[in-house]
C-alpha cells in the first residue's frame, strides 16, 4: 500500500465520520417548522411593506432631506434607512428560505422527482446565497443601488405567491399542509 493511498483513505474515513455526525446532528435539530404553515397561510408577508421600503430607498427623498435639513440630518437618515434596508434584506432571505423549504417538501412528497431539477435548484440556491451575502456586504459599505434591492424583494415575494397559487390550483395544498403540520408537531 502506497503512503499516498494510506493518507487519502485515512483522511476520507475521518471526513466521512465527521460528515455523518454533522448530518445526523441536523436530523435531531429539525424540530419545528411552524413558519412553514405561516407561509402557506399568508405567503406575501413582505409585499405589504413594499411601498414604504421603496420610499425609504428613494434617492430623491434623501436628496430632499439633505437640501432641507442639512448634511447631518441626511447622514443620520441615510444610516437609519440603511438599517431598515438591511432588515428588509433579511426578510427577503427569510421569504426565500421558506419558499425553498416548501419546494423541498413538494419534492419529498412527490412520487416522482427529477434529478436535473433538483440539481438545478441546489445550484441556484447556492448561487443565491453567495450573491446575497455579497449584496449585503455592499449594503454595509453603503453604496448599494436601493431600487434594485426593492425589486429583489418583489421577486422573492412573487416566488412565494407563485408557489402558493400553483399549489392551490393543483389541489395538493392539503398534503403539503399536513406534512408541514406533522413537522411542526415533531
Amino acid at each position: 500500500m502506497s503512503i499516498g493511498f494510506f493518507i487519502v483513505a485515512a483522511f476520507s474515513a475521518l471526513g466521512l465520520g465527521g460528515l455523518l455526525l454533522w448530518a445526523l446532528r441536523g436530523s435531531s435539530q429539525r424540530k419545528s417548522h411552524e413558519h412553514g404553515l405561516k407561509v402557506l397561510e399568508s405567503a406575501p408577508q413582505h409585499l405589504r411593506n413594499m411601498r414604504q421600503i421603496r420610499q425609504a430607498m428613494d434617492a430623491a427623498d434623501l436628496h430632499f432631506a439633505r437640501e432641507r435639513g442639512g448634511p447631518a440630518l441626511s447622514k443620520r437618515l441615510r444610516s437609519e434607512r440603511r438599517d431598515v434596508v438591511l432588515h428588509y434584506l433579511e426578510a427577503i432571505r427569510a421569504d426565500f428560505e421558506q419558499s425553498l423549504h416548501i419546494a423541498r417538501i413538494i419534492a419529498v412528497l412527490s412520487p416522482e422527482v427529477s434529478g436535473s431539477h433538483e440539481y438545478e435548484r441546489l445550484r441556484l440556491s447556492v448561487v443565491f446565497r453567495w450573491r446575497f451575502q455579497k449584496a449585503k456586504l455592499r449594503m454595509h459599505l453603503g453604496n448599494a443601488p436601493l431600487v434594485e434591492v426593492a425589486s429583489l424583494g418583489q421577486m422573492a415575494t412573487c416566488l412565494a405567491i407563485q408557489m402558493e397559487e400553483a399549489m392551490a390550483k393543483l389541489g395538493e395544498r392539503a398534503a403539503l399542509a399536513a406534512e408541514l403540520a406533522l413537522q411542526s408537531d415533531r
Binding site: 500500500m1 502506497s2 483513505a9 485515512a10 474515513a13 475521518l14 466521512l16 465520520g17 460528515l19 455523518l20 445526523l24 441536523g26 436530523s27 435531531s28 429539525r30 434617492a59 434623501l62 441615510r78 419558499s99 419546494a103 423541498r104 417538501i105 413538494i106 419534492a107 419529498v108 412528497l109 412527490s110 412520487p111 416522482e112 422527482v113 427529477s114 434529478g115 431539477h117 438545478e120 435548484r121 441546489l122 441556484l124 443565491f128 450573491r131 455579497k134 455592499r138 453604496n143 448599494a144 434594485e148 429583489l152 421577486m155 422573492a156 412573487c158 416566488l159 407563485q162 408557489m163 400553483a166 393543483l170 395538493e172 392539503a174 398534503a175 399536513a178 406534512e179 406533522l182 413537522q183
Partner: protein, 259 residues
Amino acid sequence: MPTLTLALWGLATLLTLVILFRGVIFNQIWQFPFFFLYLFVNLLQAAITFFLYRSYGFTSSFTFPLAWTTQGIVVIARALAAVEVCFLILGHYKGVWALASRILGFSGVLVLALALYFGKNGYAHGIITLEVGLEAAIATGIAGLFVFARYYQILVAPATGQLGLGLGILSCFKILNDLFLQKFARAIGFNWNHASFCTFVAVLLVWMWALRKPIAMRIPNPIMKSAAAYSNLMPQVNQRLAELNDQLAHVWHLESPKS
C-alpha cells in the same frame, strides 16, 4: 491470545447476544430484519474464528483465508443492513428514494472501485483492500443518506438514525483499522486490535440504546396524489431562482444612484 483481547471479544459477544435476544423477545427482528441478520452473521463469524484460532493458531495458512472469507460475508451482511437503514429512512418518499438510491448506489460503487484500484498491492493484502473498499462504500452510503435526509428535512426516527450512525461509524473505523493493520502491523501489534474491539463494543452500546424501546417510532407521511405538482412547479421555481440570481448580480454590479 492476550487476556484483554479475549475479555473484549467476550464482552462484544455478550452484548451482541443481548441485542439479538431482546430483538427476538420484542419482535424487533421484523422491524430491522437485515440488521439482526448482520448481528447473527457477526456472532457466527466470531464463533468460527474463535474456533479456528484456538485450533490452528493465528499464523496457520489454513486459518488466514478462512477467517478473511468469513469477514467478507460479515461485511456484505453489514452492507445489506445499511441498505435497510437507507430504505427505512427514505423509502417512504418514492421520488426522493428513487433519486437517492441511484446517487448513493453510484457513489458506493465508485468509492469501492477507486479503493480497489488505488489500494491494489498484491494478492496477500487483496482481501484487506476489498474490505476497505466495501467499508468505504457503506460509510459513503450512510453519510450520503443522512446528508439527503438533512437536505430534504426528512425526520429520522431516533432508533433508525442510531442504527445508521453505528453502522457508519463502524465502517469508518474499520477502514482506519485495516489501513493501520496493513501499514503498521508489526509496530502496533495487538494494541490496535484492542482499539478496534473497543469501538465495536461502543457501537454495540449505541445499538442497545437505539433498540431500548420495544417498538420504534413510526410516522405516517402524506404523499401527493400525482407528480403534477412537482413537474409543474419545479421548472418555475428554478426559473424564478435564476431571475433572483440575476437581480442579485445587478445589486452587486450596478452603481449606486447619486444622492
